[in-house]
Symmetry: C2
Subunit: 353 residues, 2 copies
């Protein structure tokens, strides 16, 4: 399947598609290409939400990858996750070779209840495919007043610091903390690699060079060419020349927590060679939720607001998550900006045009 | 108080001091300079352990800072921590303006029991002074079969990414994971700043330049001069030119988890100006312990061993913590290497010479 047309061609003003319409169209696309209606609804809300927030590398850009993977038989679009209450603070979810998001949706209410009852709780998802942004997994917990951490491993495309061979995934870490009433939570979502894989693909498509210290080619030589990274090369851990060992250690931690602690595969631990077109890593995900109502001293929301103000006073131009929340407000008010050709192609895939 | 003589002068072979002797001498030093015998024993084991492991920036190098702080009246060397069982998975400890390590020692057995009973548990320490390495806080948990994460904030000396003013501490994150019987756990301990503060002090003392992208001077201009960083300048978050926003986001997470979630001070939230000589930050610490026996699939120790082998096969020269464990074995077999003048000064401070 070809890529979708570029999301923001310089020569045409974008369409402004109402968020609910985009969501419904994406749900039809998923359902027509091999998922249950339940899975389609969850993936569509996730993907449309990323596009709405301006997180293009995890928005509709991902649709061809989802569909190629479903067509390859690598992922089970009809999987019904199994949630197991293992201990007062420990939930296990078997995604049964389905996507991670339906397993997360099935366990979310139990995780919130356990975090409130115990002060902290975790959800260990295994045998799951995560092909989306990670902030949508933590943000709903912060909106319910919890502090949340999520880690997911992916597919071997990052060379450990000082090593020769790709082993880690881009292995993102996401964090969310609630602020006061009416304030968007503080949220970040970062690859522990130098870049997210989707951003390398976008750079390749747009013919842009990567920054220094981001990747190596197939011979392990430093390169700024995104195609060399994608074509047998690899990414480096984030941290730059002086701090790559730290990004590498964090990436190792993500492997241990998202895979070894969940019972999921390591990023180097699955073989999709029998499924040409497959793009979604079959790994695991760990979520931790903490109830700050148990904390001593002033309310957590108040403390969080204090830090936000101090960051602004210290000259930090914006808070983590703030740009995304601004784009969200704009998209909800005026429609989600999409290139005309992209929107036409999505409607075609949905059988709407 | 002057610095101790340099730990490894190039012109003299070091003394080899038996570990137990070093520990006992340091305990005498602490007790003679204003701590209870209980606090002295805990700090001495911690500090001697860092020196034993070759972690010089947190070994006996720290003694003058401890003593200057005790002399200033900033920290209470006789504080008795209060441990509160807040919820099935949540322990709070009030260090009562004492050091963090006695609070951690007082709560450790309860944290281990709660992690085993619930699958996950946390310890929130507040009003505490942490002037030591962070790996000694997580390693004992891994030795008891638990996966452990620790976060501690410190004192405003790191400029948030894109900002103008120091706000964050060096804010380290430490992680430990158990391996099989007889294998040292996987452990890392990293500042979320470009460097640890102690390493900047050591570079200044030894007249070495810092790497690129590590610090700024008092006017906010990039500098490689460690004295300019210490003298009104500041460190940058780790991550280098392309990833500084990630190090900055992690540092923010440490502030929120180690301070806001515990009820401790932010790194910019205490005033020690009335205590000249004070060097220990009065903040908070968060520890999370997870019981991997609750995990699905093969044993965690087995999975951890599998990753360690894969890292070696991918060419990573050593595992996190490995160099420290090698140095430990050498120190325990042959004594802890200390410059003769350093050891003499320590014995003098202990009233032994």
């Amino acid at each position: 399947m070809p890529d979708l047309p570029a999301a923001t061609p310089p020569d045409a003003p974008p369409e402004r598609v109402p968020f609910e319409q985009l969501r419904a169209t994406l749900a039809r696309i998923f359902e027509r290409h091999g998922t249950s209606s339940e899975v389609a609804a969850i993936l569509a809300a996730n993907c449309a939400g990323a596009e709405r927030d301006g997180a293009h590398s995890h928005g509709v850009f991902r649709i061809p990858g989802y569909l190629a993977t479903l067509a390859s038989g690598w992922v089970d679009g009809h999987a019904v996750p199994e949630v197991q209450d293992v201990a007062p603070g420990f939930i296990a979810a078997d995604a049964r070779n389905g996507f991670a998001q339906p397993a997360w949706a099935a366990a979310q209410a139990l995780l919130v209840a356990k975090a409130r009852a115990n002060g902290i709780a975790l959800l260990a998802i295994r045998d799951s495919h995560h092909f989306a942004a990670l902030w949508p997994d933590v943000e709903p917990l912060a909106e319910q007043g919890l502090v949340a951490l999520a880690l997911v491993n992916s597919m071997a495309c990052v060379v450990p610091h000082g090593g020769r061979q790709a082993l880690f995934g881009t292995n993102p870490i996401a964090f969310a903390a609630p602020r006061g009433e009416g304030e968007a939570p503080l949220v970040f979502d970062m690859a522990t690699s130098s870049m997210a894989h989707g951003d390398v693909q976008i750079a390749a498509r747009e013919g842009r060079l990567l920054p220094e210290n981001c990747g190596v080619d197939a011979e392990g030589r430093p390169t700024r060419d995104p195609r060399a990274v994608l074509d047998g090369g690899a990414l480096l851990p984030f941290g730059g020349a002086a701090g790559g060992h730290k990004g590498s250690a964090l990436s190792m931690m993500v492997e241990l927590m998202a895979a070894a602690l969940t019972g999921g595969n390591y990023s180097f631990g699955f073989d999709w060679s029998g499924h040409p077109g497959a793009q979604t890593p079959r790994t695991g995900e760990l979520l931790i939720a903490i109830d700050p109502a148990r904390s001593a001293g002033r309310s957590f929301a108040e403390r969080c607001g204090e830090l936000a103000h101090a960051l602004a006073a210290a000259g930090q131009p914006r808070l983590p998550g703030q740009q995304r929340h601004r784009q969200r407000a704009d998209s909800l008010a005026h429609g989600v900006p999409l290139a005309r050709a992209t929107w036409q192609e999505l409607r075609r895939l949905a059988g709407e045009a």
